[in-house]
Each structure stands twice: as C-alpha cells, then as structure tokens.
Symmetry: none
Subunit: 185 residues, 4 copies
Amino acid sequence: MSTPQARRKPRTDAERNRDRVLEAARALFAESGHDVQMSEVARAAGVGVGTLYRKFPTREALIEAVADHWAAELAEAARRFAGDPDHGLARYLRHVGEVLAGDRGMSEVIERAMGSAEPRGETREELLAAIAELIGLARERGTVGPEVTAADVNMVICGLAAVIRNAAGDWRRYVEVSLGGLRPR
Amino acid sequence: MSTPQARRKPRTDAERNRDRVLEAARALFAESGHDVQMSEVARAAGVGVGTLYRKFPTREALIEAVADHWAAELAEAARRFAGDPDHGLARYLRHVGEVLAGDRGMSEVIERAMGSAEPRGETREELLAAIAELIGLARERGTVGPEVTAADVNMVICGLAAVIRNAAGDWRRYVEVSLGGLRPR
Amino acid sequence: MSTPQARRKPRTDAERNRDRVLEAARALFAESGHDVQMSEVARAAGVGVGTLYRKFPTREALIEAVADHWAAELAEAARRFAGDPDHGLARYLRHVGEVLAGDRGMSEVIERAMGSAEPRGETREELLAAIAELIGLARERGTVGPEVTAADVNMVICGLAAVIRNAAGDWRRYVEVSLGGLRPR
Amino acid sequence: MSTPQARRKPRTDAERNRDRVLEAARALFAESGHDVQMSEVARAAGVGVGTLYRKFPTREALIEAVADHWAAELAEAARRFAGDPDHGLARYLRHVGEVLAGDRGMSEVIERAMGSAEPRGETREELLAAIAELIGLARERGTVGPEVTAADVNMVICGLAAVIRNAAGDWRRYVEVSLGGLRPR
DNA sequence: TATGAATGAGGCTTCATTCAT
DNA sequence: AATGAATGAAGCCTCATTCAT
C-alpha cells in the first residue's frame, strides 16, 4: 500500500505556472487596473514573457481570463448566500461591494465580465444562473419583487463596480438604494 | 469710432478654435470612446496638433474638458426637469439614459465626470447643485425618500453610464429599479 | 527684380528627410541585405524612428521604395545605352552586373522589383519600357534575335541578381552566356 | 544468435526520426519558403522540438540539410540525363524548371545550394561533378560550346530558381534563352 | 499664433534555442 | 534519447508631446 496517489502530481508545473500568472495579474490589476504591461505581469509571476504568452496568447486573453476568474468568484459567493432567502441578496450585494472596494481595479475588469457585448460564454452564464438561484427563493418569500430578474441584479452589480471604481460616492448608499428598488412594491 | 466691428466680434478666432476642437472631440469620443488619437481630433477639428495642444495642454485636459461639457449638459437638463416635482427625477433619469445610449462612448467619459477621484471643481459642483434642486421639491412632495441626496442620484447616473457602456442589460429596467430605490419607503 | 525664384525652397525639409532615409536604407541594404532593423535605418539617416515611419508606414513600404528607386536607376541606365544599337544590350547587362556586384544586397531587393508577384506599378512598367526601347533598335539591326522581348531581358537580369547575390560563380560568364542566348540564331 | 532482429532493423529510430524531420521540413519549405518556425517543422514531423534540435543543432543546419537534399536530387537527375548527349542538357534544365516551379519555396533554398558563399562540401561538389558529366559528352558532340563549364550551368540554374521564385516571367523562355547561350557559336 | 513634421520611449508579440523531466 | 515548457532578446510599430518655421 504505497500511497499511489502521491504519484499523480496533482498539478503539473505548467498548470502551476498558469495559476501563478493569473494570480500575479489579478494582484497587479487590483492595484493599478488593467493597463499593466505584460512584462510587469511576467516579472511579478516570476516567469518570462514567453511563458506568459504561452498561457495567454494575447493581452486581451489575459484580461479575459482574470475577468472570468472574478466572475466565477462572484458566482461562488452568490451560491453561498443563496441559503438565506430573507437577507441573502442584501448580504450578497454588500459582500460584492466589499470585495470590489478592497480590490481597486477589479471593478474595472468586472464590468466587462458583466457586459454582454460579445457573448462570453460559460462563466457569465454561470454567474447569471447563480444569481437566479439567489433571488429565486427570495422572490417566493416576497423579499424581492416578483418581476426582478437575474439580469437586473447583474446590472446593479455592473453599476456598483463603476461607482466604486470612480469613487462616485458612498457605495454603501448605492447598494441600499438598489436594494430598495429590488424590493417588492 | 474705433474699429467697432473688431470689437463686436463675439468670439475671437482663438475662442472659435477651442470650440471646434471641443466639438470634434465630442463627436469622435461619441463614436469610439476616448481612445482616439490626438491627431485624429486635430484633423477632425480642422486644426493642427499644435493648436490643439495650445488649447488643451494634455490629452488628459481634453478629456476633462469634454467630460465637463457633458456634465454641464446634464446639469442643464436637471434644471429643466426641476420644474416637475412629481415626475421630474424619473423623466430626468430616462432622459439621461437616452442621451448616453445614443452617444456611444459618452458614457465612458461621463463616468469620470461623476467620480470624484480628483476634486474637479465647478462643473461637478454645478451638476450636484442642479440635481439637488431637482430632488429638493420632490422630496418635499414625498416623491423621493427624505434621505435621498444629490450624491445618491449622482451614483445612479454613474452606474447607468456603466450599464449602457457595457451593454450589461436593458438600461430602462436599470432606471426603473433605481427610481424604485429612490422612492420613499 | 529680386530673384523671386530663390524664394521657392527647392525641397522642403520633409522631402529632404525622406531622401535621407531612402539614402540611408539604400546604403545599409547594400551592406547587409534588407534584414536591417528599422531603428538602424533611422539612426543611419539621423532621424527618429517616428520620422521613418511617417515616411514609410511599414518596413515593407521602405523596401518597396528602395526597390523602386533601384529599378528606376536601371531604367535610366537602359535609356542611356539605348543609343548604341550594336552593343547597347551587352554594355547594359555588363553595367547592371557591375552595379549589382558593387552593391551587395541590392540584388536582393532588385529581384523583387523584377518579379511581378504583385503588380508593382509604374516603375516596373518604366523599366520594361526602357528595356524595350533598348532592344528595339538592336532587333532591327539584327544584334538580338527577333523573338526577344523586354520580359526576356528582365528575367536575365533577375537571374543575374541571384547569381551575384549567391556568389554562384563568375557573373561575367553568366552575362556572356545570356547575351549569347539573346543573339539571333 | 544474438538478437538478430534488432540487428536487422535497417534504420534505428533515431535515423528514422531524422528522416521524418527532413521530410517534414521539405514539405513545409515547399509550401511557404524557409520562413517556417522550428516548432512547425517539429509538429509536422510528429516529434518534439527537442528532438528536432538533436538532429539539427540549428535552424541554419536544417535549411542546409534540406538544401543538400535537393542538391543531391538535382545531381541525381543530372546523372540520369547524362546518357543523352544530344538533348541531355536541354531536357535536364527543363526538368529542373518543372521541379522548381512545382515546389514553391524549393527555389528559395536551392539558390543557396548553388551559391558558394561558404564552401559547402560534398553535395555541391557532387552536383558540379554530375553536371560536368552531363555536359562532357555534349561538348564532344558539339551540342554545347567548348568553353562551357559546369559552373556556367550552375549559374543558369541559380538564375532559373530566382526567375521562378519571383515569378519574373515565363521561365520556359528563360531556359530556352540560356540553352541558346550554351550552344556553340 | 498656427502648423505639422519630428521625436523616441514604450508596448506587444514572436521565435530560436535551452533545459528540466 | 525524447519531450515540450520556459526563456528573453529582438523587432515592429504607435502616439503623446515638443519645437522649428
């Protein structure tokens, strides 16, 4: 019984490198938005530019990937809060605000993820689905208006990102106003 | 009788040039967002780059000016709708939506105008003041909640711009949701 | 009667710069073929890369221009030798050989000029016309075969360029052989 | 009886790999000239880049090898036509034309093979020898001029490659003209 | 004061070659 | 010996800004 599972490297170096790059990009974007140089990202990830380009053949592709990653996180969070039909949505939006506010520049990218200019497949669908689940129960309980859709919440988040990114005011107020608009009546 | 006509000229050539540049910039930004080249703007304005730089010493300054201009227009509109205490705000936000939606890329710039990253003087104050006036009467009439401030509306507009720019969904719904959140109760 | 012609600058600085770039490119190409870096050309011309790119928006365009220039010179030479119906062609081909041999890398570019992969307008036509003129009289005098066309000579020159560029042998022999093939009978 | 089958294998895997690479390179060069990437060649050959580099330590070495291969083929063809002292040379040059014309990009490489920029050993010698043989008999028969050397024919082929590669005209005419020049008188 | 040519730092991307597995 | 991920030096080109005329 020699631990055979130990044998299968859980992730190859290549995979690990991809993650390092993604992680580094996320960190840099968080600080300065997505106008960071590719070489910066590479340096921060501790790899050569070539490697970076092997993983993400284009600047655009990298940004996309980061956006996807963040969208996935938002989806994940939505699922977490789905258990609380009474206050889930409110807690979710506040949570999103905290995350965005703590991650200067994430909002910059997240807007793209929310937009649908070009059909950006799965992750976006996943996020909308998660939000749909989140408001499903709440709608039954009457916590949110019956006409509210996942797309509505999506737009609110998109707006929230903009508000935070531009420091347009106290984003907590924005969240409360939006929640008010989503409530029945 | 000292050259009266020279006097009469309401605007000097210099002033006229400034306006032509601003106008051209607005038009170009409307089409393609503010990633237009300075030389493009100059060409469209029918002046040399040098002249452009004389009027706006920096790309940044030009964008700022355009943003200011738009902010002024929004302020002007706010004043127009201030006369209607019952539906003024609703009509105003819908109007803003129409304008932003019709002017691809204006939203891009307007977000900056709404934000306060760097305190950008008068125009912003003017806009906030106009909005304050707009909601002042409404608040008295109970059309909007008593706790609603001009800053809140400002944020809603900022969000609206983002929603439109990113085609994040049906912006009319966004407006209605926001209006719902601004109503009392 | 103040020399008014002195007024019209014969060539603007801009035009002069274009020539300097072209000249520099020609010199560098002569040494090392057309795999020189754009920045090298710029430096050699004493201008910034930006200027170079203003004159020739693309590496390709620059090479094209140089090729054109050389083709024009060959055309000019053809016209010069057209006056000698008996030995003009022979003297011309020998002259071309000298020029190509003395200008390492010109042959590299001239091949393109002779080829017709993409219809490269005027200059090529001009060269063919000049060659046609060159062989016209000779054909009448019976110095070259009646079936010989400008295109034939063109091909010979193209081959000559290759022979010289690749140091494939004694190019003077190549010229004599070709001349033999162009003679009547 | 020491593993006889292992012995029998006419070529080791390593040898087979070398051939696969060479074959792939030839095919790719034929399509697109020798500006193909090393990784392309490797992929086409079904081996890793590492293997490719083990066989040909340098891009240059690979091209050289392909050139050699083609030169060997031309030599082989020359020997085949050597049996026909009357029309051998003509048939040979036409044959070479056909081959080059059918193999876009081979001409690109063949020029190098014909050139002697760097003394490139055996194969070139072999080719010159084969051509010498080809014209030897013809010279005796008076089909080609007495002063014609293998080097002359070599140059003609080099030129032919250039003519074809640059689509400089009807290469069949070029061949006929050259043949004319090689004939006695 | 207007012009537009010139500037050159900086950004993105490619690809021959190396090297750890 | 084979593999293919990693490397990073180049190279092409853009564009905000300056400056001579």
